[in-house]
């Protein structure tokens, strides 16, 4: 078994993402400095990566399963506001506010999932609807209840320690959560038998159902996972920054999709990997933050991200075709 040969590595979904990451690193070391690899610099992109990554993972799984969820753009501020309103405005214990955030995610995820499996409307449209609906509700209710669009929150020390501290002065504790979640995802997607079901669903939903896979239940679970992850990230941000705003989740929609696609997940489903999504997220965050370590104007980072996305997709197509054409050599 020569599972570690170069050819085998190239045929994996994360091959393109890995090479992209190396290219981006080289680029910023040449045009910027190695400062962004030192702790203070690394914190800036790791913080971005962790917040984005926790949402990008379930978005990636949905995409592998052939679905999409853009309502996360509203779920991040909704998760923030929920904990801030319950525990800040109303002074309830922090745990109540946190449960509120997570249950909100659960509820919206259930609505998304059930609408998608019941109506056969494409999930892009369904979640576009819930994106605006949740945003409207959020704005309406927060003005109605608190009179403002931003709410202060003081979390107790334990909650702060677990969900919203800066480790070593500049690393958000959510980075550790991200690593733990990655480990869980790797186990479920690539080692447990359930991962197989998600790939099958994205490959051919009707055949997957005919093969006895509970596609309806699995689809709903994936939507619950993405909405809850988004409200979790929002919740952690509110605890970290001691306040919550109704706006500020929209950039996550495009950024998570870019991370996932750069990470080698096939937009039409059936192909991808958790490690790929991890590489994609890191790559995105480095480009997003690395620009500050160069002499370039910050605006150029969008150009780099655009080019990187196109290159990544082309590269991923090539590697996927290599994987399809793969035949073992005669021994």
């Amino acid at each position: 078994m020569n599972n570690l040969s170069f050819g085998n590595l190239l045929r994996r979904p994360e091959a393109g993402a890995f090479l992209g990451l190396i290219a981006v690193l080289v680029f910023f070391v040449i045009f910027g400095s190695t400062k962004f690899l030192e702790p203070a610099g690394a914190a800036s992109w790791l913080n971005v990566a962790a917040n984005l990554g926790i949402v990008a993972l379930p978005i990636g799984l949905l995409m592998i399963a052939g679905e999409l969820d853009i309502s996360i753009g509203a779920m991040i501020p909704a998760g923030s506001m929920m904990v801030a309103v319950l525990s800040g405005h109303y002074d309830l214990p922090i745990w109540v506010g946190m449960l509120g955030s997570l249950f909100l995610g659960l509820g919206v995820g259930l609505i998304n999932g059930i609408l998608v499996v019941r109506t056969a409307v494409p999930s892009l449209i369904v979640t576009l609807g819930t994106l605006f609906a949740v945003q409207g509700l959020l704005l309406g209710f927060s003005v109605l209840v608190t009179g403002t669009t931003s709410v202060a929150l003081t979390a107790d020390p334990l909650a702060k320690f677990i969900f919203g501290q800066f480790v070593g002065g500049s690393f958000q504790v959510i980075i550790l959560w991200w690593f733990a979640i990655i480990a869980l995802f790797i186990f479920f997607v690539h080692y447990s038998p359930y991962g197989n079901w998600i790939f099958a669903m994205g490959g051919d939903k009707v055949s997957a159902r005919n093969a006895g896979i509970p596609t309806t239940r699995l689809t709903i679970i994936l939507f619950v996972l993405s909405a809850t992850s988004a409200s979790f990230v929002g919740m952690c941000q509110a605890i970290l920054f001691n306040s919550a705003q109704v706006s500020g989740g929209m950039t996550f929609i495009f950024n998570s999709i870019i991370s996932v696609v750069v990470g080698g997940v096939l937009l039409t489903g059936g192909f991808g990997s958790v490690i790929g999504i991890f590489f994609g997220t890191i790559t995105f965050a480095i480009v997003n933050q690395g620009i500050y370590f160069t002499t370039f104007d910050r605006n150029w980072s969008s150009l780099i991200i655009g080019i990187m996305l196109l290159l990544a997709v082309l590269m991923n197509n090539t590697f996927r075709n290599m994987a399809l054409a793969y035949r073992p050599k005669k021994k």
């Binding site: 186990f187 080692y191 447990s192 038998p193 991962g195 197989n196 079901w197 790939f199 099958a200 490959g203 051919d204 009707v206 055949s207 997957a208 159902r209 005919n210 093969a211 006895g212 896979i213 509970p214 096939l266 059936g270 192909f271 996927r320 994987a323 399809l324 054409a325 793969y326 035949r327 073992p328």
Partner: protein, 269 residues
């Protein structure tokens, strides 16, 4: 009288206002091949999907070994020993041979919450199962389905169904899109399955294929059983006519030939 493995009694199936199957009664016996014949749109795929748990009959009942059964989904049917190769799909181009072979019934190793997918075992069994059916070109379970030929994919799907289908094997047009050699191969698989004592339901549009393997024939015309007979009870011509939806094929062919002849010898102007 032996109890049939699978029996349908007065099964109707409609999709909303569209009635697709009318009052279907059929018996399927172990060690026999039932050929399901009929025109495009006659309802063959719908019929086998109600046996495979994909659709629930609108009325009527399904019996296994003489006892009424109700399938809540394809999984129930699979567990009862009915395994199906559907007309379209059934294969996942970007999945490996091993993984797609065991889709939904993945072998695992380890214990408790740490059960992990056993790739080595899956690949070994999958490769062995296809090779048993003569496709010896497939020797690595890590290869992706999308890299196989249509015939290889079809053989893989059938090998999978035979591997898991303990009792009833349903094949919906398994020889469509296959070359002569591959088609002959599928027919050999069908006969092998029958020899092992499975009940086989075989759908085809090809008279020769039907006559080669069929013990028992049922013809659907517009969703109803128009004829139900055993091998040798009808001539090849009669079967052909029935498959064309009851029209006399011989007449139709004569008409076409006449038409062609007229074109080749245009009347002198």
């Amino acid at each position: 009288m032996i109890t049939p493995i699978l029996e349908l009694r007065n099964v109707d199936k409609s999709f909303g206002p569209i009635d697709v199957l009318h009052d279907i009664s059929l018996k399927v016996h172990a060690g026999e091949v039932l050929c399901l014949l009929g025109d495009n749109g006659a309802g063959k795929s719908t019929l086998i999907k109600t046996m495979a748990g994909v659709f629930k009959p609108s009325s009527g009942e399904l019996l296994m070994d003489g006892k009424p059964v109700e399938f809540r989904g394809p999984r129930d049917a699979q567990e009862a020993g009915i395994s199906t190769v559907h007309q379209f799909g059934g294969t996942f181009p970007l999945m490996s041979i091993g993984r797609s072979f065991f889709i939904g019934v993945e072998p695992t190793k380890g214990f408790g919450p740490f059960k992990v997918y056993d790739r080595k075992k899956a690949n070994e069994i999958a490769v062995k199962a296809v090779q048993e059916f003569g496709i010896t070109r497939i020797d690595d379970g890590d290869r992706l389905i999308g890299g196989l030929s249509g015939g290889e994919r079809q053989s893989l799907a059938i090998a999978r169904a035979v591997h898991f289908g303990a009792r009833v094997l349903i094949l919906d047009e398994p020889t469509a899109a296959l070359g002569v050699k591959e088609a002959a191969h599928v027919l050999r698989i069908v006969l092998e399955a029958r020899r092992r004592g499975l009940a086989v339901i075989f759908i085809t549009h090809q008279v020769t294929h039907a006559m080669t393997v069929g013990d028992h024939f049922a013809v659907l015309i517009r969703g109803a059983v128009a004829a139900d007979f055993r091998k040798g009870e009808r001539s090849r011509e009669e079967i052909t006519d029935l498959m064309a939806g009851g029209e006399a094929m011989a007449e139709l062919e004569a008409e076409i030939e006449g038409h062609l002849a007229a074109q080749h010898n245009p009347p002198a102007a």
